[in-house]
Each structure stands twice: as C-alpha cells, then as structure tokens.
Amino acid sequence: MKLLSVTPAPHIWAKDDTQSIMRDVLIALAPAFIASIVIFGIDALLVTVVCVAAAVLSEFIFEKAVKRPVTITDLSAVVTGVLLSFCLPYDIPLWIAALGSVIAIVVVKQLFGGIGQNFANPAITARVVLLICGFNGAMTTFSLDGVSTATPLADGAANPGLAVMFLGNHAGSLGETCALALIIGGIYLLVRKVISWHIPVAYIGTVAVVSLIAQQDLSIQLLGGGLLLGAIFMATDYTTSPMTNVGKLIYGVGCGLLTMMVRLWGATPEGVSYAILLMNILTPHIDKLTKHKAFGGEKA
C-alpha cells in the first residue's frame, strides 16, 4: 500500500481561490466591457486587448527575469489590464495604453513584491502616472462618435439626461460610462461575496451626501464620471483596502470626501483616481486603527 498523506487540518477548503475570485471580477466586468464596445466601437475593444496583453506579458517577462514563480494564471494581471483600459479614452494611442499596463504591473505590482504586496492599486496608479504625463491631452480629451466632447463632469457641460448616463452613451473613459453595466457587475460581486457592500455604499453614499450639501447635480456626480467604476471595482481591491468592515466604511467615506474635494475645488473635473490612490496609502493606518478585538480577550 502507498504511504498515506499526513497533513495538518483542515482537510477541506472553500471553493473560492485566488483564480476563481479574479475570474468572478472578470465576469463582473463583462457587461461594462460589452457596453464599451457598443458605445465606442471596435477601438474600445482594441484598447482593452492591448492593455490586457501588455499586463500579462509584462508580468510573465518580469517574473521570468527575476526568477519568481510565474503567476499569470491567477488572472490578476488580466483584471489589472481590463481595469486600466476602462479608465482610458477609447481613442488613446495604443502604445500609451500598453505603457500604462507595464507601469501598473512592473512598477506598482511586481517591484513591491507581486500580488498582495502592492501598496496602491496598479491600474489606478498607472492611470494617474499617465494623467500626469499628459501626452498632449491624449488622456484628458474625450470624444464620442469621433467628435470631441466634454464629459458630463466637466465645467459647463450639459447634463445629458438620466437615461443617457444610465446607458452610457456619453463621453468618458471607455469602461466608466454605462452605469447599468457597472451596477449589474457590482451586484454579481456582492452575490458571489467577492466584495462586501461596505466600501461601495460608503463611497457612493458620501459622494451623494456631499453633492446634496454642495448643491451639485446629483445624477451627474453619481453617474457622469468614474465613481461607479471606482467604487465597485477599484476601491474594493483587496490588497489596497482595509480588512475589517469598520475599516472599509472609514475608507469608503474617505474616498467619497476626497473625490468631492477634487471635483469641487480641484484643477481637474474628476477626482476618483486621486481619491482612491490617497486612501490606498492610508489603508495600513486604517487597518491599524480598526483591528478586531478577540472574543473574550478584553484583558491580556
């Protein structure tokens, strides 16, 4: 008889593993992906494909180069690629899109130790780097049907109407415009327990409250920019958001406040990326403040 395997308990595991979680995120992103192609055409598809390919390839090459185990099958690089593409204009030069992926994967993720070790969300950080570089306005000029158009959040832009913003047929980054698709994805993630409600609800709720106080157009503030994409898919990134539910609420509120500060007082119309990036950096401190107390462990 063969030797028996002797391992410590437990001897069973829950179904979800890192790959299945990332797969669920991709499934949740699918409606917005389809919407982006419908709204912006085949160019949107190209940007996403290039971002994903560049992300996966740079992860593979980097890990090979530094002799780390190759982890591209965990699908996290694919998620990063899709998310980055979702916050780019559909007509961005493809080399800029690819460069963004390389920055996200190599600089933000791998140089800090790979999955689970990055202090900031790779897609968001890469986007912010691209924004700062500017590329002659390639990152900030949005168009629809080939005509240069301001996003609903831009100063002086007209409200395109609730229906348009819900379905997404307005200018913006390619994955952020269709609110309906993003909400469907968010519900999927909640049902699959990939994310909890704390961050999205705290984030979106804070934006709504501040908008009302500041007498802003609520529909534009909630649906006209990158809020839903950010609150559902980016701010909920495990690695860069707090662990406990209380921490998640604090983090969500912080994201909301910072977003509105940029939107109301900042030099740019949109503040989601900056807000999440800043809160990413605060996450270790929030974690420290919101540690669980052991059951029955009041006195050491």
Binding site: L4, H11, G116, F295
Partner: protein, 429 residues
C-alpha cells in the same frame, strides 16, 4: 468585541441513519498509556498475563490521569512504543485477543451519593471527553458551577455518533445529566443541539431545570467558548476555563457514558465511531474495542473503494491525519474519514491577497493573517498583543483562505511558541 461568524459547511452526515455495527474483537489491540502526554501510571500486567474485558491494566497515576482497562479478553503480548500524531512517543500495552470477550469478574457497580463519590467513580471509569478533546472528565466535573451544558452540536462534517447517541441513548444521556446535575448541585442544564432527533425532548420529560436549545447552523458552534455563549450568553475570559464562566460542558456521549457506568460498572473499553469518506465503499458506524487498528474499522463497514490517500481521525476541519492503518482506536475518537487521491490533495499555497476572509470568519475574532506575519518574525510582543494564544484551532481561517495558506497551522505554531516564552518581561523603564 463579540463572537465572529464562523463558516457554513456541507454536513456529509451520510451515516446519521445507520445503526452501529458491533465489531468482533480484533486479533490484537494496542492501548496507549496516555492520551495527553505526561504519563505517570504504573503498568499492572506483564507479558503472558491473561486479561478480561474491563480489567485494569494500568493505574491512574498522579495528577489528572485515569486508569486504563483491557478492551478485549486474551493475553498480554508486551509493551510497544507508539508515536502519537502530536509527535510524542508513548508506551502501549499490546493484548492478543482470544475472541471470547470474557468480562472481568472484578467489575463492580459503584454507588454514588455525593460529588466526591461521583468524581472518584468517573475517574475510575477511565472516562475522558468523548467529543474529541479527550480531557479527563473527572477533572472537568471538579468545579462549582450553575450551568451544565451538553454538547450535541457535532459540527464537524461526516461525524454522526453524537446524533446517534441522542437518537438511541437519549434515556442514558438524560440520566447522566440528572446525576451530574444533582451531585454537583447545578441549577440548570442546557442541551445544545442543531438537529434534535425524535424522542430527545421526551427523555428529559419531568426533569426540572433542563432546556433543549436549538443551536444556530454554523461551524464551530460546538466549540466550547462558542457553545457557552450560544446557550448562556456568557463569555469565557481569554485564557480561562468554562468553569470560570460558571459552566461545565460535556459531550452527549460523555453524559450517556456516566449513566451507563454507574448502572453497569463497565469502564470505558469500547467506542462507537462513524467511518466515512470518498475512499470508503459504504459509510457506516462501528462499535469496537479501544486499541483496535483503524484499518479493521474500515474493513468492518466493507472496506475501501480504491486506495485511500489520506485517513484522519475526527472531522475534516480539525481531524488528525494518521500515519497508517495500524493506528489504534482511541477513547476520544468519534469518527474516521478516508479520502481518495483526488480529495486528499492539498491545494498549492499562493501569496496572501489580503482579502480579509480569515478576519471575517474567525469565530474568536482574531486576525489570522497577522498572526502568521508576527509568527514568521517570532515577534513575541506582537503575537501577545493580537492574542494569538486565544486561537481555538477550529480551522475556519485556513478553510476560507483563497490563497490556501496554512493559517491555522501557523496559529498553532504561534501558540506553542508563545507558551514556550518566559512570562511577560517586566517593562523597561
């Protein structure tokens, strides 16, 4: 902070409707002289001695030990050493069975009229906690409390012998509860159960101060601290025992055994266990003498389907993997599971993605990922500050971890590491 939420598990209670099969005596039994490590008992038999079922073969020794009894009739073959799953090596008395199962003629029915007599009778019976931990029951009973909690939760998958005891021996159980309650002067008994079998409530009819409490459906609702909180609302302070919260917790089989022993005088010489798992042909329930090779238990229900790749005593969440099929059946075992190659494979460990599931599901509200980190650095103060010592080793953290990290194993190592450290240093001025 209160209790955490634990996890939901598939029950796999395939043997819940089985009737226990009485196994014929195995050719040979090995009875280890100690379950918990330190062994101070004296061996009362020598090679070549003839022994009968229920005959003492080792004294109770000092401290908290209990005596050991022959579980089969036959001839003492000698003393062997056996490596226990925790790494310790203990002496075993080996008895070759004559197949007769002759009962020792020195069996006496004890008389119990007060707490002292109950404690000494329970100690003499060789009883240890039958739910799994195997702590000597007489030590637990030596306490002044106002709540007796009977654990019928049986939250490990596959395990069914507690349910079967409540179904078939509810009267014994009720009698055990009555005796303990009366002798110890306990105000109230609470039977915590997830799925009460028919007739359970009837067994307690007419008994005052007994409540049958339906437990919530989660793992590990049957862990002592969880169960005490669920049934009484009390919290056992960190590092303290149930008695510090005014409670004694007994497994249903332990309670039933007390009644049976006081009626018959037959000490703990056999055990009923469930036998199940993907490598088993037909799952079943077997009653067998202590010390029976585990392989014989599997054979008694029809053997294996293919070759087993992993066998563990207990359930899949906390069960202890056994090195071979010769390992003896012990007093605290309640079931064995054999897994096939596919189910035995341990998934590969990957990097922590900080998903927070270990934090979210820990019933003790500990933060397992942080305990692992602090343990990797052997940081005593850090480990103390996050109360690594309070881990109940239930395995929820490792179960839910999508990166399949050995979280509960690290917790156990961290606990042992902490225990090995000198007591708190005097803080430097």
């Amino acid at each position: 902070m209160g209790m955490g939420k634990g996890i939901r598990l598939a029950g796999h209670k395939n043997t819940a409707s089985c009737t226990p099969v009485q196994m014929t005596a195995p050719a040979r039994v090995r009875i280890p002289l100690s379950l918990l490590g330190a062994n101070t008992s004296t061996i009362l038999v020598k090679k070549g001695d003839t022994v009968a079922v229920g005959q003492p073969i080792a004294s109770q020794g000092q401290g908290i030990g209990v005596p050991m009894y022959a579980s089969v009739s036959g001839t003492v073959e000698g003393i062997e050493s056996l490596r226990m799953p925790n790494g310790s090596v203990v002496d075993c008395i080996v008895i070759a069975s004559d197949g007769q199962q002759t009962v020792w003629d020195g069996i006496e029915v004890p008389t119990v009229t007060n707490m002292e007599e109950l404690l000494s009778a329970v100690r003499k019976s060789g009883l240890v906690g039958l739910g799994g931990a195997g702590f000597p029951t007489w030590v637990k009973l030596n306490a002044t409390v106002d709540r007796l909690i009977i654990n019928g939760s049986e939250c490990e998958p596959y395990c069914t012998v507690d349910y079967i005891a409540m179904r078939d021996y509810a009267a014994d159980m009720a009698e055990g509860v009555r005796i303990v309650k009366q002798m110890l002067g306990i105000e109230k008994a609470i039977v915590g159960v997830k799925h009460p079998p028919q007739g359970l409530a009837e067994a307690f009819q007419g008994m005052e101060g007994v409540e049958i409490k339906q437990l919530r459906e989660y793992y590990p609702v049957g862990a002592e601290k969880m169960l005490i909180h669920e049934t009484t609302g009390r919290t056992v302070p960190g590092g303290k025992l149930p008695k510090d919260a005014g409670c004694i917790v007994l497994n249903v089989n332990t309670a039933a055994f007390i009644a049976r022993y006081l009626r018959t005088g037959m000490p703990l010489v056999s055990k009923t266990v469930s036998v199940d798992g993907s490598a088993v042909k037909t799952p079943g329930v077997v009653t067998a003498p202590i010390g029976t090779p585990v392989g014989d238990l599997f054979a008694a229900v029809g053997g294996f389907k293919g070759e087993p790749a992993k066998i563990f005593a207990g359930g899949p969440m906390m069960g202890i993997a056994l090195p071979d099929l010769d390992f003896p059946l012990l007093w605290n075992n309640n079931g064995f599971v054999a897994l096939n190659e596919k189910d035995a494979a341990k998934p590969a460990t990957t990097a922590c993605i900080r998903c927070g599931r270990c934090v979210d599901h820990c019933p003790m509200n500990l933060m397992a990922f942080e305990i692992s980190k602090a343990y990797e650095q052997r940081d005593v103060e850090w480990l103390r500050s996050i109360r690594a010592d309070l881990c109940i080793e239930c395995g929820c953290c490792a179960y839910v971890c999508p990166a399949r990290r050995d979280l509960v194993t690290n917790n156990k190592l961290a606990k042992r590491f902490l225990a090995s450290q000198p007591k708190k240093e005097v803080s430097k001025q």
